[in-house]
Symmetry: C2
Subunit: 384 residues, 2 copies
């Protein structure tokens, strides 16, 4: 077996070693994202890798049950679970240990999550998850803040051609319910909308069909979508969603007039636990970079727990969209040059690679050790 | 149950949430340590949290077998193990995926490890492990490099009153074997030395007893210990260890004349897998900060695998020795101040905390949100 096939066979499917240049690239990006979050008052928390199963998988965590590894805790004799998502942990911290902290509470995190299975699209079973949660605020200003923060942070690490797709995953159900449709009909309509199947939507007939067809065809550039939506007679519950979209879009436009914003009026897949305004972040080059939106922290259901919003970034996709920073120059410091010499080079921004033994051709040794430069009689010279 | 007891009961023993100020403190320290490692040519790698049990727990990893959680991999139907130590993973990467990279190979890492049980001294079951490995170098210069790198990095993050205790955990066995003692006698002597029990050592009698008593009493400040050691007639195997101590100490003195160095000539506990010069890092205030030393990467036994050295830092102890950096000032930016205003404040180094709704007393709101300042008519004012 060739070396690379052998070594990849050493690891379970979907798990991999992140090797030097890639690991530095990821660490630098995570560091910068967290710095951007911190600059807007989001404070870092680090929940543990494992928790009691019954806590980690209750409430919003339940969605990940099948994707979660279990461990027996020999100490308590209770089952523990390895986190497959950090968001429920942050919600737990906010509503328990930090429940007496002033609201809105701004928290951020970065850490590893582990999943039982990869998907066809994303075979990895271990991810770096990075995100923020804004807890205890109902205002559209909160929705706008997290979208703007995500855009700001992604721009700071160099993601080009960024766009935001807004949606309200609960709106279609509210419209249908407002028009008196039953649960089965709503389910059928949702499936038809997911397939973007106008014929099936039309077949349901009545007011709902024409409303939903308009929603489906109006999805796209934000202002056009909002114009179409404004002209529709919406049932009361959905009217609230429309107002939130309008207000949030206005806040986004005021802050970042040139941001590419689209609105999908029928989207709900991947937002099963969102309860209001949600969004997906895209880069033209790399695809989906992350998503976020409203949920209830600390309990399930629309009227329980605390109002919250936030987002999660997918570091694997994201790194494909971000150019790696130029690595600082490496200089080979021959054996016997002395600690102080190397220290001064580092103070000047060089990476120093010390020779551990004398060599006859220092330039060749520098090249062998991937150094672009070497120290020759006190001067840094290119290896040529 | 009071809130805090309730919330700590939410987590299994030995696992905890790292809350805001502590999490930022740790992240900043880890970041700085890795920057110091990188500046000396150590490149970061990130192995996965879990691997196949048979790989993770073979060779040097075997020591952690009882401390390691297992998981069944539904994909391969094979047992996986959650890492309890990152060092064996780095050795695996060096000797498989990076086996064709030029030697010496300098790698560093930071990540979470999970253990089945905490100890009485250290009840935590999840740690942040940070360290370096220098692979493929036999020279004393390599031993000195990792000690100096550890000291440099710890000094950079502000650890005061640092000291290094050198030892050669294999020396006592080599001396005893060189003097023809049997395995049982060596074990008894080791136990006596561990208890610093001179009487029991003396009871063994003969040349060994007097040699070992001298070693035990000479342990302490480096130069004094080396002087005592120099006067001893050592068997051949131990002579090599003495030379390595002498050479390494000279290199340390040349680089950092004022470093506090002690030598323990009979230490071996905690160094079961070390095969040569080893060391422990101490701070007067916080105790043991980390340890390192020589081992064989990629296989067990003194003559197999590649020569390697490195160290691991214990972030929990370490953080107790390091003052937290002063957090940047937080300024409350009242509702409606505008994105651009807040952006300019951040560019000036402020953390901005946005008001999501109008308030009547902005200074009071700033105080409530832990901001020392607020933005009043374009000016940053202290909340008073």
């Amino acid at each position: 077996m060739p070396a690379d096939a052998l070594s990849s066979a050493l690891l379970p499917a979907g798990l991999h070693d992140v090797l030097p240049s890639e690991a530095a690239h990821e660490a630098a990006a995570v560091e910068r994202l967290l710095a951007e979050f911190a600059a807007q008052g989001y404070r870092r928390v680090d929940p543990p890798l494992v928790e009691f199963e019954e806590n980690l998988l209750s409430g919003p965590g339940a969605a990940m049950s099948k994707q979660t590894f279990r461990l027996m805790d020999p100490h308590s004799q209770r089952m523990m679970a390895v986190r497959a998502d950090i968001t429920p942990q942050i919600a737990r911290i906010a509503t328990t240990r930090l429940k007496n902290e002033a609201r809105p509470l701004r928290l951020c995190y970065a850490g590893q999550v582990l999943r039982v299975k990869g998907s066809q699209l994303r075979p990895e079973r271990q991810f770096t998850q990075v995100g923020v949660e804004l807890i205890g605020a109902l205002e559209a200003e909160a929705d706008a803040e997290v979208v703007l923060l995500a855009v700001q942070a992604l721009t700071a690490i160099g993601v080009p051609h960024l766009s935001v797709d807004l949606c309200v995953p609960t709106m279609v159900s509210r419209i249908c319910a407002g028009l008196g449709l039953g649960e089965d009909e709503i389910r059928q309509l949702r499936a038809a909308l997911d397939r973007k199947d106008s014929a099936a939507v039309a077949a349901v007939g009545g007011t709902a069909a024409s409303l939903l067809e308009t929603l489906m065809s109006a999805s796209g550039p934000a202002e056009r979508a909002m114009q179409a939506l404004a002209a529709l007679p919406l049932p009361e519950g959905a009217e609230k969603d429309r107002r939130r979209l309008t207000d949030t879009l206005a806040l986004l436009r005021a802050a970042m007039p040139n941001l590419t914003v689209t609105i999908d009026l029928v989207e709900h897949r991947g937002f099963e636990y969102q309860t209001g305004l949600s969004f997906t972040l895209f880069s033209r080059a790399a695809g989906e970079l992350g998503q976020g939106g409203r949920y209830r922290a600390g309990a399930q259901g629309e009227d329980r727990g605390e109002p919250a919003t936030g987002f999660t970034l997918y570091m694997d996709t994201l790194l494909r969209a971000v150019p790696a920073a130029k690595a600082p120059g490496r200089v080979y410091v021959p054996h016997g040059s002395g600690w102080e010499t190397a220290r001064r080079l580092r103070a000047d921004g060089w990476v120093t690679v010390a020779g551990l033994a004398p060599v006859t051709d220092a330039a060749a040794e520098a090249r062998r050790l991937h150094c672009g430069h070497w120290l020759a009689g006190g001067d840094v010279k290119p290896v040529g």
